[in-house]
């Protein structure tokens, strides 16, 4: 039985009120002020997640995935960027009204982020053990020896053999997979409640990807951390996430639990993206593509943001913004086709 609910623009009605969401985001807007005008990078993103839940944030580069994450962590320069939200709460605490000092304690301790390019975030002048120990000492009141021991333990947890020995490695001595593991070690050493990972396994081959996937799932099992996994690789996210949010031009255009999203994709953008993935199980003479480019953050089309690329565009799409339609419990799409589905 499909229940369709017309929801007001920008906000998502929750199907079942969650008791204590770990993270609650309502109508998040992030914009850049420049001499050329205001660029809107995040355009009313709303979702909430429970403790231990893994959400995949998927979409093309430039769609606002990383900006959403950086806004949650308030890692953007405040003089150039304006962040607003009806709600941005972590464990019930309002992140937007926190002082910088309070925010610093949350970052790296309660919420950790793993960045795309691990090598760029490791200091080439210090061993990975020293860097891990330093992170521990900033967040925990323990002795240097205890911190070093914890660093070794964490290295072994992320899969280093002979961690006491690897403790003394410099970043340049690490292979791509090892560097990624080191970043993961940095991020989990304080046992955060929320881990945000930006494109962590995208550039690795399938076997190494699977090892990182297994590692992330193991971390969730051991630390019960919730995770936001950012990626443009849907195949990769399909193996980790409980729910998937598809982003396009600063908006979540479709959100559903993983099985539902792949079984019944609804939004034309989601369908286009799924169809353009090269498949390992068959050769196609010509791969399907989505023509055109994502709009830049200064110039959105009138009406639906996807209207200039959408194969199913209708008249209304070009002048009026669609709202969210709930296609089945927890499965929502930002598309006028939702209304048509409602009347048939």
């Amino acid at each position: 039985m499909i229940s369709l609910t017309r929801l007001t623009n920008g906000t998502l009605k929750r199907t079942a009120p969650e008791m204590n969401p770990l993270l609650e985001i309502r109508n998040l807007q992030t914009s850049f002020h420049t001499p050329y005008g205001t660029g809107r990078a995040v355009n009313g993103v709303s979702f909430s997640m429970n403790k231990g839940e893994i959400i995949g944030l998927a979409g093309e580069s430039g769609s606002g995935k990383t900006m959403t994450a950086l806004s949650i962590l308030r890692l953007l320069p405040e003089n150039k960027v304006h962040i607003s939200a009806e709600a941005l709460r972590f464990n019930g605490l309002d992140l937007l009204s926190m002082t910088d000092e309070e925010m610093r304690m949350i970052r790296g301790h309660k919420i950790s982020m793993i960045f795309q390019d691990p090598v760029a975030f490791l200091n080439p002048a210090f061993t990975i053990g020293q860097q891990l120990t330093d992170t521990i000492l900033t967040h925990m009141k323990i002795s240097k020896q205890e911190a070093a021991a914890l660093a070794v333990e964490t290295l072994s947890k992320v899969g280093f053999t002979a961690p006491e020995h690897k403790f003394h490695y410099y970043p340049h001595q690490l292979s791509g997979g090892m560097a990624q593991r080191t970043m993961i070690a940095q991020a989990i050493v304080t046992r955060p409640q929320l881990l945000i990972a930006d494109e962590i396994a995208t550039s690795l081959d399938a076997t190494l990807q699977n090892q990182i996937i297994d590692l992330m799932l193991l971390i969730r099992q051991e630390l019960s951390s919730a995770m936001i996994l950012i990626t443009h690789n849907l195949a990769l996210i399909s193996q980790m996430a409980d729910r998937i949010a598809m982003m396009y031009a600063g908006e979540i255009v479709e959100i559903a639990d993983k099985e539902n999203l792949f079984r019944n994709p609804f939004h034309p953008y989601t369908i286009g993206l799924l169809e353009s993935i090269p498949r390992i199980d068959k050769k196609s003479e010509f791969l399907k593509t989505i023509p055109g480019n994502i709009p830049d953050i200064f110039h959105y089309p009138a009406g639906c943001n996807f209207s200039d690329r959408c194969p199913r565009v209708m008249e209304i799409c070009c002048h009026k913004k669609p709202g969210y339609y709930e296609l089945s419990p927890g499965h929502k799409a930002l598309c006028w086709l939702g209304e048509r589905a409602a009347t048939t």
């Binding site: 053999t161 410099y170 001595q173 690795l204 195949a235 390992i280 791969l287 593509t289």
Partner: protein
């Protein structure tokens, strides 16, 4: 089978890296590629797949001599007669290195790209072109697209000013870019458009071989599909031979006629692409295929992964002896630690390097060796 355009024999390249940054200056030698032999047929797209760091880029750079190989030969564009002459002069394996054979030495130094002079190599630089994962880093950011495309024509002294203009506008159109873009700077373009500019620059000299090193790896799937389609179309139009490098086996399946699988600096398997997928004979190929997730729309995603001999940390091990894949191999035997398996033709055009395979009657692509 078509004529052989490029033949690589026993290519090896070792890097020397400093072991520790400050405290000691111990130098360590890291073998990036070892004993690589394969050939490219005219007009085919040959896929090269393997995890990052396995040596794919090193191999492509030694072919072009952007890196100097320590050992091995690369032949390009020889006629069948020249090949025959070379092969008949080549001493039998195991009987010296050919040092004693005057005729062989002479032919080799005449044709072999890895040992010829910079001057003799120059015309080959025009015939072999390369595109990279991040084209932007190979552009001079102060040059406009027009100048970026004109540069190779100038270096190789091609055409008059007017010819060059015409060629570059034609090329822009061929890769699906607007003529007006010639006036712009590379940083004004998206990743996909930059890769199109990279392709235009590589093809403007009308090369015979295009080496594409992870050309779509940093692009979004929808853009990735556009670039793959573009490369597929252009290679037919221009009768190009393409060496397509990727860490993603699904991409290789879409583009390649034949493919090679690389691990730890060595080739594990070479086969026609469809045979490779239908009948992978090397345990690593099998693992790669089974590790790749499959998404079927309407049926949900399929993540039945092969449970392999799992010890993530063993990745770090680089072996100097025996089979480089043995730490991950479900089939490893004692002999795999001592003997490097040779790449043998076990079925027509299907080469595999693995001790598990029955001794074949086919030919030896390169010899296995002790230690």
């Amino acid at each position: 089978m078509n004529r052989i355009l490029l033949k690589a024999c026993n290519l090896s390249k070792t890097f020397t890296v400093k072991k520790s940054l400050f405290f000691s200056n111990r130098m360590e030698r890291v073998a990036a590629i070892r004993n690589i032999s394969f050939q490219l047929y005219q007009g085919e797209t040959f896929g090269l797949v393997g995890e990052s760091g396995c040596g794919k880029s090193t191999l492509s750079k030694t072919l072009l001599r952007l890196l100097k190989a320590d050992d091995g030969e690369v032949y390009f564009g020889l006629t069948q007669e020249q090949f025959l002459k070379l092969e008949s002069a080549r001493p039998l394996t195991g009987i010296g290195d050919g040092e004693e054979n005057q005729e062989y030495r002479a032919l080799r130094s005449q044709y072999n790209l890895t040992e010829m002079s910079e001057k003799s190599l120059f015309p080959y630089r025009r015939k072999i072109q390369i595109i990279f994962q991040n084209p932007y880093s190979s552009f001079n950011p102060r040059l406009r697209v027009r100048e970026i495309l004109e540069e190779p024509l100038l270096i190789h002294g091609v055409g008059s000013k007017q010819d060059r203009e015409e060629t570059l506008y034609e090329m822009l159109e061929k890769v699906g870019l607007n003529r007006d873009y010639a006036k712009r700077f590379p940083n004004e373009f998206s990743g996909g458009q930059q890769q199109r500019i990279g392709i235009a620059r590589a093809l403007i000299l009308n090369p015979e071989l295009l080496i594409a090193d992870e050309p779509v790896s940093s692009l979004d799937v929808s853009v990735q599909a556009q670039i793959i389609n573009l490369i597929n179309r252009i290679r037919r139009d221009m009768h190009l031979t393409v060496l397509f490098i990727s860490h993603d086996l699904s991409v290789i399946r879409q583009v390649a006629d034949r493919a090679a699988v690389m691990y730890g600096g060595r080739l594990m398997e070479i086969a026609p692409t469809e045979a490779l997928f239908a009948n992978p004979l090397h345990p690593y190929t099998d693992l790669l295929i089974k590790s790749a997730p499959v998404i079927r729309i309407g049926q949900g995603s399929d993540f039945s992964r092969w449970e392999y001999h799992h010890d993530p940390a063993r990745n770090e091990v680089v072996y100097e002896t025996g089979c480089s894949f043995r730490a991950k191999c479900r089939d490893a035997m004692p002999v795999c630690e001592q003997l490097i398996p040779g790449l043998l033709e076990v079925q027509p055009e299907h080469f595999v390097a693995c001790h598990r395979l029955p001794v074949p009657t086919g030919t030896l692509q390169n010899k296995g060796s002790l230690s």
